[in-house]
């Protein structure tokens, strides 16, 4: 009995079975990466607290209407491609002081006293009609984010000689030593704080 050999299982078809499964997964796989424009919504207003008063010069009002036309500060019509330069000019103005009474030392704008005081205070308000096309809305949002990224990139390059995206990547890189990572984190935070992204997506109004 003990001498009887157990017959070997034929593994020749193993490859066929594996191929079949492989093809199934190949066909069903969709490699879409979820990406998009991230936003943080404002918290629900507390009815007991009064909303903070913001000076009009610290708000850049962009109004988007049904046909996709952009109205700036309620009086000038601008093209989509002019949104980014206008936003940069407004954010980088630095005509006054921030809440801590500091001047904006890194701003390169015109220091126009009738425009924003400090990037900390500058608010971009994007108002849109209810029936505005979502695609047009996202295009404007995209331009605004790109204005912020331009300024952040510039600051990061000036201070640390690397782009903002690189800085962010380095601050999350686990291959670096803890001390190095911490220092990059510090730098990233500092640059990020220079131009805080304050975009108000105001309630759509009926036109």
């Amino acid at each position: 009995m003990s001498r009887r050999q157990i017959p070997e299982i034929n593994a020749g078809s193993m490859a066929d079975i594996a191929f079949l499964l492989l093809i199934f997964f190949l066909v069903t796989t969709t490699m879409d990466v979820d990406a998009g424009i991230s936003r943080k919504l404002p918290e629900k207003p507390n009815p007991l607290e009064k909303p903070p008063i913001i000076k009009e010069k610290n708000i850049l009002v962009l109004t988007l209407d049904k046909s996709g036309t952009i109205l700036m500060e309620g009086d000038t019509y601008i093209d989509l491609k002019d949104v980014k330069p206008a936003a940069i000019k407004f954010l980088d103005n630095g005509g006054g002081k921030n809440a801590e009474k500091e001047d904006c030392t890194y701003c390169k704008g015109e220091k126009d006293p009738t425009s924003s005081d400090h990037p900390d205070k500058a608010v971009i308000s994007l108002e849109s009609a209810r029936n505005t096309n979502y695609g047009a809305y996202i295009r404007v949002q995209d331009e605004l984010v790109s204005a912020y990224n331009f300024l952040l990139d510039r600051s990061a390059n000036e201070l640390y000689g690397m782009s903002y995206a690189d800085l962010k990547e380095k601050s999350e890189d686990d291959q670096l030593s803890d001390r190095k990572k911490e220092s990059y984190k510090e730098k990233y935070k500092k640059v990020k704080g220079m131009y805080p992204m304050i975009i108000s997506e105001a309630e759509p109004t009926k036109f």
Partner: protein, 153 residues
Amino acid sequence: MAKFNKKKKDMPAVNTASLPDIVFMLLFFFMVTTVMRSSDLKIETPVLPEATQVKKLENKSLVSYIYVGKSKTGRKGDQIQLNDKLVTSVKDVQNYILQKRASVHQSDINKLTTSIKADVGTEVGTIFDIKQELREINALKINYSTKRKSNKQ
């Protein structure tokens, strides 16, 4: 005689014993990377808007998706789909997010993100209503899902 011997020699067969291993390796790769779509779309597949300044969404298990688009059956107006149901009232968004919250670990609750996959033709008003509902229950992290457009620099 040496000549004859040479002629008889066969080409050695390629050893295919490692073929299953290679195939299995590929198989595991695809099995791991595959994400099965959990819900069927009841609306027409949204055509996402394009943007250049996009951020990747990380930690997919902490993302809840809200689809907004046109109805397949020709119903008027923008339709909102949560999971695999079309909803009639935008108020249902709250329940959807609260359910998601209950299913994750306590420490992950503030990492929850809501991804809005809306068609380019949607009205901003619909998106705004959804955002109001999200604010109502303090689900503040959102992401407007977009396609990546190459930089136009």
